[in-house]
């Protein structure tokens, strides 16, 4: 199953994220990257539909606002939490949670 079928993001958008100079990223941490590079979580607020999966999976860094949308703790993801952050990003039904290198 391709990411497109999983919904949320067009091939176009993903392409730009990979190609983008402002943050080489991969939705959910797939792809080649340096393990030691600092990474931060971002929400694509257009794609986010407040399913709340990330809030369940990563309460250490993500809390809910009064309307159920995720609020991310500022700053880079602590290295120990990166596997959990990857899992949360991979589990987002709309692929709205992004684990990316800071700008």
């Amino acid at each position: 199953m391709s990411a497109d079928e999983r919904g949320g993001m067009s091939g176009d958008e993903r392409g730009g994220m990979r190609a983008g100079k402002h943050g080489r990223m991969s939705a959910g941490g797939r792809g080649r990257r340096n393990r030691n590079q600092p990474r931060e979580l971002r929400v694509n607020p257009v794609a986010c539909q407040a399913h709340g999966v990330c809030i369940e999976l990563l309460p250490e860094l993500i809390s809910a606002d009064p309307w159920g949308y995720p609020v991310i703790a500022p700053g880079p993801v602590p290295p120990a939490l990166i596997p959990l952050a990857e899992r949360a990003a991979n589990s987002c039904p709309t692929l709205a949670l992004l684990l990316m290198s800071p700008d």
């Binding site: 176009d12 392409g15 730009g16 929400v43 694509n44 794609a47 407040a50 949308y69």
Partner: protein
């Protein structure tokens, strides 16, 4: 007020009213334009050469910043587009970049882009072509909000240039749908891509991938007119006005309680007092000035008269240069009632894409309504503060951040009024006609009215 500019060896930069962009009488025809400004130095930037990159260097040296509101360095934006075209990733478009001239000013209190496009449309079109040459663009768009008359005039201007052989790239005049966020740069890209004039998540920025995946340069029309002047006269000339940190001149829309509201060109670094004098001075006793439009902030008068019109200086005082908007609020107006109206308008302008904006801005508007027209208790003020934090930085565009910043600045600048309202309820001044402009017709419910027999 912090002085942004260290004393330089050069002559003291001039401040005050100037006439560069708005020089001379209106130049609607190409002939008038050419006699006012002379021919545009197309692909001739490096003195007779075809070194188009020289223009980017000149714009960088001039220190030109975007005049659309964000104030991003224009040269850096141009360079980002050329670099994206050179080193694009695997999804790179085959060839060419795109230029978008943003003349779709959505800021209700701003009229400067419209004024510039009617005063010197060919200066903007020169800038479009020069910028297109510099970044290797193969087409350009001039995006405006405007009636059929404005569109017709601009299209005629484009045609007259094509006839005169001054058109190096095709320029298409595009009408942008009404709305506060439709002129945001990613929304313009969406409009041109056929996906709707709504802001989108970045990255990718338009400079990386915009119209049909091409690296896209989006610059405000005033910024492009400045590019056309820098191409003609050079960066040193541009820096003869303004301060070293904020060089050049800019257009300002001055309204509210002033004797002669209108659009004025001032050197950056002029004081707010000087700008207000230019607009004829206060028409009645003033209490504060809104600087930077609805993404800006409030500065109490008369203290703000000494504030310098540079983004750096205004930001340290909690306002912004924005698109050059100054609105003077008279003492006879209730600032909280004004803010309740504006917040409600801004909430109505949410594209509805991002949950925190879609939910948070109406809640904020509701809270401001209670602050102005109810009796704000501790709980309400705490909730308002909390909402400001909850919406900031959580949208695809800056509508939530800008709205929160404006409300925060109002609550700080008018804290006495908030206390008065908390003690005594709404004040009598709330009944005064509003000073802060909202677009005509006033915002109504976004629900579409079905037309009888119309298409769905």
């Amino acid at each position: 007020m912090p002085q942004a500019d260290p004393p330089g060896p050069r002559a003291e930069p001039r401040t005050g009213a100037v006439a560069r962009l708005l020089a001379g009488p209106e130049q609607r025809s190409l002939e008038d334009h050419l006699s006012q400004h002379g021919p545009p130095p197309f692909a001739d930037i490096g003195r007779g050469g075809t070194d188009t990159a020289a223009l980017i260097t000149a714009v960088e040296r001039a220190g030109l910043t975007g005049r659309g509101g964000a104030g991003f360095p224009a040269g850096r934006k141009m360079r980002a587009v050329t670099e994206a075209a050179r080193h694009g990733g695997p999804f790179r478009s085959q060839t060419g970049t795109v230029v978008i001239a943003n003349g779709a000013e959505s800021e209700p209190a701003s009229a400067k882009d419209r004024r510039l496009l009617s005063h010197a449309p060919h200066l903007v079109l020169d800038g479009i072509v020069l910028a297109a040459e510099a970044v290797g663009a193969t087409r350009a768009y001039l995006c405006v909000h405007g009636g059929p008359e404005m569109l017709r005039d601009l299209r005629e201007a484009v045609v007259s240039r094509e006839r005169a052989g001054l058109s190096r790239v095709p320029v298409q005049v595009v009408s942008v749908p009404a709305g506060y966020v439709t002129s945001q740069e990613t929304a313009l890209v969406g409009l041109l891509n056929g996906t709707g004039a709504r802001p989108s998540f970045v990255p990718p920025r338009p400079a990386q991938r915009g119209v049909q995946r091409h690296p896209t340069l989006v610059l405000n029309v005033e910024t492009l007119a400045c590019v056309a002047l820098i191409a003609r006269h050079g960066p040193a000339w541009f820096r003869e006005l303004g301060t070293p940190a904020a060089p050049g001149s800019a257009l300002f829309t001055i309204s509210g309680a002033v004797t002669r509201p209108g659009v004025y060109e001032l050197a950056l670094g002029s004081t707010i007092g000087r700008a207000l004098e230019e607009a004829g001075g206060p028409a009645e006793p003033p209490q504060a000035v809104l600087a930077g439009g609805y993404f800006g902030g409030w500065l109490p008068l008369p203290a703000a008269r000494r504030a310098q019109l540079t983004d750096q200086s205004l930001r340290t005082s909690g306002a912004a240069l924005g698109p050059g908007v100054l609105v003077v609020l008279p003492q006879s107006s209730c600032p909280l009632a004004e803010m309740a109206r504006v917040t409600s308008y801004l909430a109505s302008q949410s594209a509805g894409q991002c949950g925190p904006c879609r939910n948070g801005l109406p809640a904020l508007a509701d809270a401001l309504g209670h602050v102005a027209f109810g009796r704000p208790g501790e709980d309400l003020l705490r909730w308002t503060d909390q909402l400001l934090g909850l919406v900031s930085g959580r949208g695809a565009c800056h509508l939530p951040d800008g709205t929160a910043g404006l409300v925060a600045s109002a609550l700080a600048a008018f804290s006495d009024d908030v206390r008065q309202h908390a003690r005594h309820g709404p004040c009598g001044r709330a009944a005064r006609p509003p000073v802060l402009p909202l677009p005509e017709p006033p915002p109504v419910s976004p629900v579409a009215v079905p037309s009888p027999g119309g298409t769905p």
